[in-house]
Amino acid sequence: MGAYILRRLGSSVVVFFIITIIIFTMLRLAGDPVAMLVPPDQYNTGTAEFLAQKRHELGLDRAIPIQYLAWLGDVFRGDLGNSIKNGRPVSEIIGERVGPTVELIGLALILAILIALIFGTWAAVRKNRTADYVITFISMLAISTPGFFAGILAIYVFSVKLGWLPSAGMSTTGVHSTVDQLKHLVLPVTVLGLSLSAGLLRFVRGTMISELTADYIRTATAKGLSKRSTIVKHVLRNALVPILTYVMLQIPLMVAGAVLIEQIFAWPGMGSMIVDYAANSDYPVLIAVGMLTAIVVLAANFLADLLYTVLDPRVSLR
């Protein structure tokens, strides 16, 4: 088991370095950072020398592999460069945006898992009956509705027409109350959670259906267990491993959903930050985001494997 995890960890590290190479290449392809120091219309005779000197200072005249290593060193020290737009350190910009996104995704994920488990199980148990059809249809509707359109609709209904909930930001300016903050959470978390739950629900339903036909279900019935106990004690326990693995693998994709939801609800997280800085081609920030996303993806993949190893007794012996 230890060897397996170590091997997986090793392969994750290799993939990470491949990604850093891709990102570094993109960085160099993105343009000459020195040339941008001087707008083309202000070029004069001294400019070329000035630029050459700058290049030397920044180490840009060194061999490409050396430059890559130097850059990698900076990255590991947490120095991700400065934003072109406002000159602030990228790490600082990202640092203040991570919290709201984690909060949004975390809560939405919990909501999505609850919805998917409850209704997915329900649909599986009532397979091919009315409840199943209704749940499957609604989940298809949720899969097909773009999250941003759902967000707009939600704002139109709950903020504009009903006036129940705020439509933007994490809190009302000047107001410091928990209730106010919770109210701001409701719409973005619900919309994101619902859109995340649809795919998960279909997965839960499929997994549960195949588990429900397993022979051990009949054994449990023959022991005298009620259908409810059988589902809770056996079916869910068996379905848990694939479901949790699936959820882990979905987490990076949830970042994508968060981008749109944050944009709609003016949520000050990573998502709206990406859109903001991408619109300005602020590549140091974008590169950093790409790197961070890659790390999250690899970590999620690794954790999914780890989870599988820990939760499934059949795997853990390998």
Binding site: Y216, T219, T221, A222, K223, G224, P313, R314
Partner: protein
């Protein structure tokens, strides 16, 4: 048997500890009357069980034999609501356990019966156990469903049960997962689970079919031992006549969802009164007989999708193939000898097996219930 958990059983007042249970003959433990089970399928309704009646006396071992699709498994599974509904449906009939009607009984009542009064051993131990729960806990669960005991007590009982079914190092084994068990060990665990609450009736649904030939004998031995120790009546379902000869006192031959013949093992093996039974016996391989002499039954198993007005075996039957009455009229299960019933219009025309088969089967049948020696026989022969 443990006193810690086994004392709370409410049912089965007339359970006997002795395996013979001669006194139970007049008061059967299980009475099945005119049971009909249908399955709705894409192709139409399958009449999987079509008017089956039988009784099991306390402590008695009844062998149920038939080909695949004969309805033998469906019969046993539908007795206590173990078939999936839908697509399955019990359309008619009565099942009485200790005089209590179970068809149409509340789910709550059935749950008490299942695992409590009735233990089931399934065919495939590889899939019948929950793969992600430790074996001891699964056995303990069977106890905990029916008795208010702590998890630790249930575990202790599980260890005792594993010991009882001959699992070495039961304390260690109880803490292992099913995939760490071999097929034979898993089936032992299944048996332990089935007898956890000292059932009055044990249903063994082809318990050895999925196992290696070498393991089969051991598992049969365990079942016999468990049956004798608990005194539970047993419904032993198999397609293997040899197993029946070893284990059962009475046998019921099924075909096309109906009972073809029933009687004592000795009677049926030596003097079958139904052409289908005779066919089964003739198709048995034998040590004393040349393989070339094996006589397969011509034709294929019946189509249970259509309800045949006559005898289901008629199209394949050497006696009734050309007779109008066999085609048109369903033969009733009629007594042809003491305790021997046959559903055939012409039981007397049943072709009789040759002597060598008779001897072997009779020896097996006679040896089976009393001595444990048959299992060793079996090992040698296989």
């Amino acid at each position: 048997m443990t006193r810690s958990t086994g004392s709370g059983r409410d049912a089965a007042p007339q359970r006997t500890s002795a395996p013979a249970a001669a006194d139970g003959a007049d008061r059967p433990l299980l009475v099945v009357d005119d049971l009909h089970v249908q399955f709705r399928t894409e192709a139409g309704t399958a009449y999987a069980v079509d008017g089956v009646s039988f009784t099991v006396a306390p402590g008695e071992v009844l062998g149920v034999v038939g080909e695949s699709g004969s309805g033998k498994s469906v019969t046993s599974m539908s007795l206590f609501g173990l078939i999936d509904t839908p697509p399955g449906k019990i359309t008619k009939g009565s099942v009485k356990l200790n005089g209590r009607e179970l068809i149409g009984a509340k789910e709550r009542v059935l749950r008490k019966v299942r695992g409590g009064e009735v233990g089931v051993v399934f065919q495939d131990p590889m899939t019948a156990l929950d793969p992600v729960i430790k074996v001891g806990r699964q056995i303990g669960e069977a106890v905990r469903v029916h008795h208010k005991v702590s998890r630790a007590q249930a575990m202790q009982r599980a260890v005792e049960l594993l010991q009882q079914v001959g699992v070495p190092q039961p304390e260690v084994r109880a803490n292992q997962y099913p995939h760490e068990f071999s097929g034979g060990m898993r089936q032992r665990a299944m048996i332990a689970m089935a007898i956890a609450n000292n059932p009055v009736l044990l249903i063994a649904d082809e318990p050895t079919t999925a196992l290696d030939v070498t393991i089969q004998a051991q598992v049969l031995d365990i079942i016999r031992k468990a049956q004798q120790e608990t005194g539970a009546a047993t419904l032993f379902i198999t397609h293997d006549l040899g197993v029946i000869a070893e284990l059962a006192e009475r046998v019921m031959v099924m075909y096309g969802g109906r009972v073809m013949e029933t009687g004592s093992v000795k009677e049926i093996f030596t003097r079958p009164r139904h052409p289908y039974t005779a066919g089964l016996l003739a198709s048995l391989p034998s040590l004393t007989r040349d393989e070339a002499e094996l006589t397969p039954i011509p034709g294929s198993p019946p189509n249970v999708l259509s309800q045949n007005p006559g005898c289901p075996f008629q199209p394949r039957c050497s006696v009734g193939r050309d007779r109008d009455i066999c085609r048109a009229q369903r033969p009733p299960l009629a007594e042809v000898g003491p305790g021997h019933f046959s559903a055939c219009h012409f039981p007397d025309e049943t072709p009789q097996p040759r002597a060598c088969v008779l001897e072997e089967a009779a020896v097996g049948a006679a040896a089976a219930p009393e001595t444990g020696g048959a299992a060793t026989d079996l090992k040698e022969h296989s």
